[in-house]
Symmetry: C2
Subunit: 467 residues, 2 copies
């Protein structure tokens, strides 16, 4: 059976030059679904390595592993691009409880936010004020906020269909909550986890103090959505309850790390670059399967699927596994700097960083004319239920590459379950479905194939797709 | 917060008559996502009742529970429609092993197929022949097949994008395998589970002996995909290995059961019926959350969401929870018979029976002219990422209602993970995502709203949708 399949794929691949685009996409999807490597790679990255926080031993293991795997693919070049990254460490497991005015304590689930300072040795206990947003906080002023723990409890909006919009509407609490509360003399910040479900898992993520002086920097943690509801209910009954939390996280010195890059050099336009990527670092609570192990292995498989499908690109195709998206974006910044220095003409940069769920389409950061050209390929994707081609954002790692001529894009998988797992202990391998992951890899490969074949300059009549 | 939300929904609902269709759909989706009941109902059906095989105590509990819940909604009518159903029982847990020619035994995971007879008392042990399909079986003939256990091992085709097509390509092994093998004198049948994943769970499902005489009827069981691979590998090394299995299932006498029906009577055309439904029975290994608890609670919520959104239908809208889809279709047959007897004019029948996953659209069994009319509403669904409007099959339970004038349709959710759970012990509540379920309910409600408002006769100019 397997031999027959191998032979069939070989025949399909040998015949690629004579194929229509319809047939080529069929070959790409079939190869991914019957002979993909993305799931096997993700298994290793998730279960043999695990969470890959920037600067950690695991992050370096992931760099070595993915480099070695790319080297096995027979690409034209594989290399590591050095970059210094921040090294924040969580320390011992965080601990928190609510203490009622009668002294009864209720343990709750928290985790330090990435970049936060530790609590004072032994933890901190203080009264709590609950707010929905910065306006409400500022209206309270120093007098009411000083000495308190500020509890940001604005939930993600359930009626938004695209969950990333719901995330966008709340994440300022997590990112800047400690900065805003610190300015007003608060002693700590607790943020409702960015999660649309009610469950017991706290969700970490980056936060920043901006240029706040050290004296105003306060520890900041996420609380699970169930415990956020509990704290809010208890506060409604007892304004004087106290909250205790202890965390020992710290920011260490920067360390050396790497972007991992592989390339198939273009046969006609070697200095026109199309890149596909994800970020190799992840948060530390889970194993980073959806965020963004999935995007990494899909991007690796794009180059492999092109080769397996017998496609010889005219332009140079690179996979870039960016380091440090989560808490610094150093890898992306470095990659864009070096590309600029070398005068590399990046024409298309695609990121997969929205989970390994069923792909629905892409979001393109480009001009109307280019979008119209790309959208004219949409019908080729219909058999694969890919329907979402919209102008909009792309991805954090490809953002720094954006120029007048470089089109940036992001894969858009189904987003309904993404924030159930995002930055939490349940972002783990068993929550990624093999077929969904492979469909994503095939969808990315198909777009890269079309971009390579037809370029991105606005459509002209002699560039009609081969139906 | 909740009070504010309630007030907002009330205001939205009060204003429904003045709303455009765009606004009405927004109201429906918002209501489902912020104030839906489908998930709560499914929790009860799955976790307080559980698997609901026709004729079982649980099936009757589910009839009573859903009737009571419908009665709480203030519908115009709620009733039970009696129907006799087959009662097949699994008996004690099945047991199976592979025995090598050196006498070493390897336990494997099997389950009896629904409708199968038991093995002879104490189980049966016989040599195995592996086949891919009925042609291969028939080519072997009586001489080779007689006295053997036939192992049907054709896998679901991974390169088909729509997993129901992959299922359709394999399910004849399960349904008719024992009949075909029994004709050739086989003593038992083992069928590879209808599952695209490799895992340890056997998947049950219905099978039939057709009109085969009792003397030729042989026991039939499903084996997990991992164990199917194992058995196949071991057979390649040792053609003389033996397979043992024991199952004590039996077909009892038919028993009384019910379809559960609720109705909002139409204000203008009370004898034009639009129905939404799912099937209340399920297999017994899991709790039937995806198949088809999800479809039942979504259908129940369609009537509730119409009411909550302030929509007063012109036509009669019914929810029908069909009994016995899995092994007899008796409920669906009865419902269609009674509707015909009473001369009820069913104009649209929608079933949700493909899991509680993110909805992608609908499949319509109707004429081109009607399809064109319905498809003209597609743009209204774009904000909800509903893109799949295709002509094709509908659902098993609404099938018997199909006439020249009745349009049948099926909700089409994302299908990638459906067969990971289908008819297996992991078809359980925790695998249903609340938002995905609620989006399905809203999508069904929106279509029912439009069908009720515009009817299904082919489009005329004065029936333009209100953008």
């Amino acid at each position: 059976m397997k031999q027959f399949l191998g032979l069939m794929l070989l025949l399909l691949a040998a015949n690629i030059q004579a194929q229509s685009d319809t047939e080529t996409l069929r070959t790409i999807y079939t190869t991914s679904l019957t002979n993909g490597k993305s799931y096997e790679w993700l298994d290793y990255l998730s279960n043999q390595i695990g969470g890959r926080l920037s600067g950690s031993l695991n992050a370096e293991k992931a760099v070595q592993y993915t480099k070695e795997e790319l080297e096995k693919l027979g690409l034209d070049k594989v290399w590591l691009q050095p970059v210094m990254v921040p090294k924040w460490v969580r320390g011992t497991k965080e601990y928190a409880f609510i203490e009622s005015n009668t002294g009864v304590t209720t343990t709750v689930n928290i985790c330090a936010l990435g970049g936060s300072i530790a609590t004072p040795f032994g933890g901190i206990k203080a009264p709590v004020i609950e707010v929905q947003d910065f306006d409400e906080l500022k209206a309270m002023g120093k007098e009411k906020v000083s000495g308190k723990i500020v509890f940001f409890n604005r939930p993600m909006q359930a009626d938004l269909i695209q969950t990333f919009e719901a995330y966008g509407g709340c994440v300022n609490q997590r990112y800047s909550g400690a900065m805003e509360a610190g300015k007003l003399g608060a002693v700590g910040v607790i943020v409702r986890s960015m999660n649309l479900r009610l469950d017991d898992l706290p969700h970490t993520g980056s936060m920043s103090y901006g240029d706040l002086p050290n004296s105003q920097r306060i520890p900041s943690a996420a609380i699970s959505t169930n415990d956020a509801e509990k704290l809010s209910s208890m506060l409604a009954l007892d304004k004087n309850l106290k909250f205790f939390f202890n965390q020992t996280c710290q920011q260490l010195k920067e360390v050396q790390s790497y972007n991992v890059i592989g390339e198939i050099t273009g046969s006609e336009y070697p200095n026109e670059y199309i890149i596909v990527g994800g970020h190799l670092d992840s948060w530390d609570l889970g194993d980073g399967s959806h965020d963004d192990g999935a995007g990494c292995v899909q991007s690796m498989d794009v180059l492999r699927l092109l080769k397996e499908s017998g496609i010889k690109p005219k332009r140079s195709i690179r996979v870039v596994l960016f380091m440090n998206e989560e808490n610094g974006l150093r890898g992306a910044t470095k990659y864009a700097e070096v590309a600029k220095q070398k005068g590399e003409n990046h024409i298309f940069s695609l990121e997969s960083d929205a989970g390994g769920f069923t792909p629905r389409g892409f979001s393109f950061d480009c001009s109307d004319a280019v979008f119209n050209k790309i959208e004219s390929w949409k019908s080729l994707f219909k058999p694969y239920l890919i329907h979402y081609f919209e102008q909009g954002g792309s991805g954090a790692d490809v953002g720094p590459l954006k120029t007048e001529t470089n089109v940036c894009a992001g894969l858009r998988p189904d987003s309904q379950r993404y924030f159930d797992h995002h930055h939490a202990a349940n972002d783990t391998f068993e929550h990624v479905n093999k077929r969904e992951l492979e469909l994503g890899a095939a969808t990315m490969t198909s777009l890269v194939y079309l971009i390579d074949k037809y370029g991105i300059s606005p459509i002209s009549n002699n560039e009609k797709i081969k139906d």
